[in-house]
């Protein structure tokens, strides 16, 4: 444990990241964007409201919107931060030297992942005071905010591990980035699109079926369980998940399947990255 906490790669990465002003500028712009959104939302809602004040229902709406928006931002930033962690060392010609040290491949991969996602975690934690705006107007419990933060952290780990995997497997950072973004796009946009199509398909059957028990479309569940936005939105609006359960005929909560799927993805991606970081000396291929 002590070795992990004072891991040299982690230590070096933190030093490199926070010595540069770019990280602080990034943090500033991220918080500014969020603040503008919150203030803008409150302002527009107050203007359009006939009573001229902001209601708890609107506050809840704002929280949902912010949470989904922040999730999309996270999904957009995670590949950028993780898809170059190993390939950039390779391009900078520092990887070979690192690989000849006594550090284990597991230590290098995990430290790289943690250091890259820690910046995202910082963004999320720094945005929490802005989130607390919603408490001023009600409609949201602290537990919901906490659950959302835990959900973000888990999602970052899952998608971050994919970035690290591609960064390990692909030599060039740019190709690794494109691949990671493409996979992320599929897991967010692609699965959402497929879920909608499949649900429509099932809905059509449901409406036209004359049988006493309508046919189910289980595939829609499998695409939905991989989609972080659907899972998060469903936690705010349980009706979304209920509709999926009804049409697909699968009652297992989506968040459980999501957690299991991304745990498998995370473990698989990390183990494969560890295996592929150094050459297999026993097999000269």
């Amino acid at each position: 444990m002590k070795n992990f906490v004072i891991n040299p790669v982690l230590n070096k990465e933190f030093k490199l990241r926070f010595r540069s002003y770019k990280s602080f500028l990034g943090l500033l712009f991220y918080l500014l964007a969020l603040a503008i959104l919150i203030v803008g939302f409150v302002f527009i809602e107050s203007l359009t409201s006939s009573q001229g004040f902001f209601k708890p229902e609107q506050s809840r709406m704002m929280f949902m919107m912010l949470s989904v928006l922040q999730l999309i931002l996270i999904l957009f930033i995670t590949p950028g931060l993780t898809a170059g962690v190993i390939s950039s060392e390779r391009e900078r010609q520092t990887l070979n030297i690192m690989l000849t040290t006594a550090q284990s491949s597991a230590s290098i991969i995990l430290s790289k992942l943690i250091s890259s996602i820690s910046f995202l975690m910082l963004l999320i934690i720094a945005s929490l005071p802005l989130y607390s705006f919603v408490f001023l107007y009600g409609g949201i419990s602290p537990q919901q905010v906490l659950t959302t933060v835990v959900y973000y952290s888990f999602t970052i780990l899952g998608f971050g591990s994919l970035g690290v995997l591609f960064s390990t497997l692909i030599r060039k950072t740019i190709v690794s980035m494109v691949t990671t973004y493409a996979v992320t796009l599929f897991l967010v946009g692609g699965t959402a699109f497929l879920t909608l199509i499949l649900l429509q398909f099932g809905q059509g059957y449901y409406n036209t079926s004359t049988a006493s028990t309508p046919p189910t479309v289980p595939y829609a569940y499998f695409t939905a369980m991989l989609n972080p936005v659907i899972v998060l939105a469903g936690s705010f609006e349980p009706g979304i998940h209920d509709e999926i359960y009804r049409i697909t005929g699968i009652k297992t909560p989506l968040w459980v399947s999501y957690t299991l799927s991304y745990t498998v993805i995370f473990i698989g991606a990390i183990l494969f990255s560890i295996k592929k970081l150094r050459p297999n000396m026993k097999k000269g291929k």
């Binding site: 040299p8 790669v9 490199l16 900078r92 070979n96 297999n280």
Partner: protein, 311 residues
């Protein structure tokens, strides 16, 4: 200390390393000479556990590079031919990072790093950002980095490449110091005369094959089986030319009028060489100097690699 047995590396149909067998004893400074693409870096990468051989194997300090890669990494200090640095790290932080990577405790590193910086003459650059150092300084810092865990074996791939003459001399002096410390050093370079000066033994590699191995003189004898002797005269040249031409072991004799000397190749042993000189003096030739010509390592290298290409 270092042993390779039939070490081979193929990339598809291309053979980068062809059955390389080599043995380097502890404390030896071994120079690896070869043209670009000859297989030097491939050999070094395999020894540094960065590349798996297609067949054959290698041992470093008794540890097999394939089965005991972790242990091999602890034995070696590796300096690649091309390497990068981290932009935002200072020289001392750079060494701290690698020291920590070998599990060296902070208190020990704090004692060790000033010593290493002193060894490579970079004490004054301790707090300078690594990317702002000159190429020569970066090379020296990288050398200090490769020494941080006090390895028994140093694998230095072209440590003097791209350096100006002054930086090369500094690097050479550091390597001499390391040799005195008893390190086993495997070094490759294109600066062949420098290798001759520094190395105990030299291996010449061409198209993935080790074509010659030994001391400079040994290699010369091994490959040419003859030496060039220059005799500077004070008396008449005609008598000397007639005398040496009569010897069956002498060939390709030529007179060098500017130096008033004759030069010829001699195929005999060291004892026969002594006898030749003795009989020349007894014959009454006035000889001011009788010496084996210093054959440049580059000449040997060109000769050998030319031979390989022709065959």
């Amino acid at each position: 200390m270092i042993e390779t047995i039939e070490l081979t590396k193929r990339y598809g149909k291309f053979t980068a390393l062809d059955s390389l067998s080599l043995k380097i004893e502890k404390g030896t400074v071994f120079g690896f000479v070869g043209q670009n693409g000859a297989g030097k870096s491939t050999t070094f990468s395999i020894l540094a556990t960065l590349l798996a051989p297609t067949s054959g194997t290698a041992f470093v300090n008794g540890y097999n590079v394939q089965n005991e890669a972790k242990m091999v990494r602890r034995q070696i200090g590796y300096m690649p031919d091309f390497f990068g640095v981290y932009d935002q790290l200072k020289a001392s932080e750079y060494l701290h990072f690698y020291g920590a990577s070998y599990g060296i405790p902070l208190t020990e590193r704090e004692k060790l790093i000033p010593q290493l910086l002193d060894l490579v003459n970079l004490t004054h650059k301790r707090d300078a950002y690594v990317d702002l150092l000159s190429r020569g300084m970066k090379q020296r810092l990288c050398l200090a980095r490769s020494l941080i865990h006090d390895p028994e074996v140093l694998i230095l791939d072209e440590p003097a490449s791209g350096l100006d003459p002054r930086a090369r001399i500094e690097m050479r002096e550091i390597l001499k110091e390391l040799k005195e410390m008893g390190k086993t050093i495997l070094i490759s370079s294109h600066i062949l005369p420098e290798l001759a000066e520094m190395c105990d033994r030299i291996g010449i590699i061409d198209q993935g094959k080790l074509v010659a191995e030994g001391g400079v003189a040994e290699i010369q004898a091994q490959l040419k089986g003859e030496k060039v002797i220059t005799v500077i005269l004070t008396g008449r040249a005609e008598n000397a030319i007639a005398f040496f031409e009569d010897d069956p072991l002498v060939a390709r004799l030529q007179y060098l009028p500017e130096q008033h000397a004759i030069e010829f190749t001699f195929k005999g042993t060291e004892q026969e060489q002594v006898e030749l000189l003795r009989s020349a003096i007894n014959y009454g030739l006035a000889i001011r100097s009788f010496a084996e010509a210093q054959v440049d390592l580059e000449d040997i290298f060109m000769e050998i690699t030319k031979g390989v290409e022709l065959s």
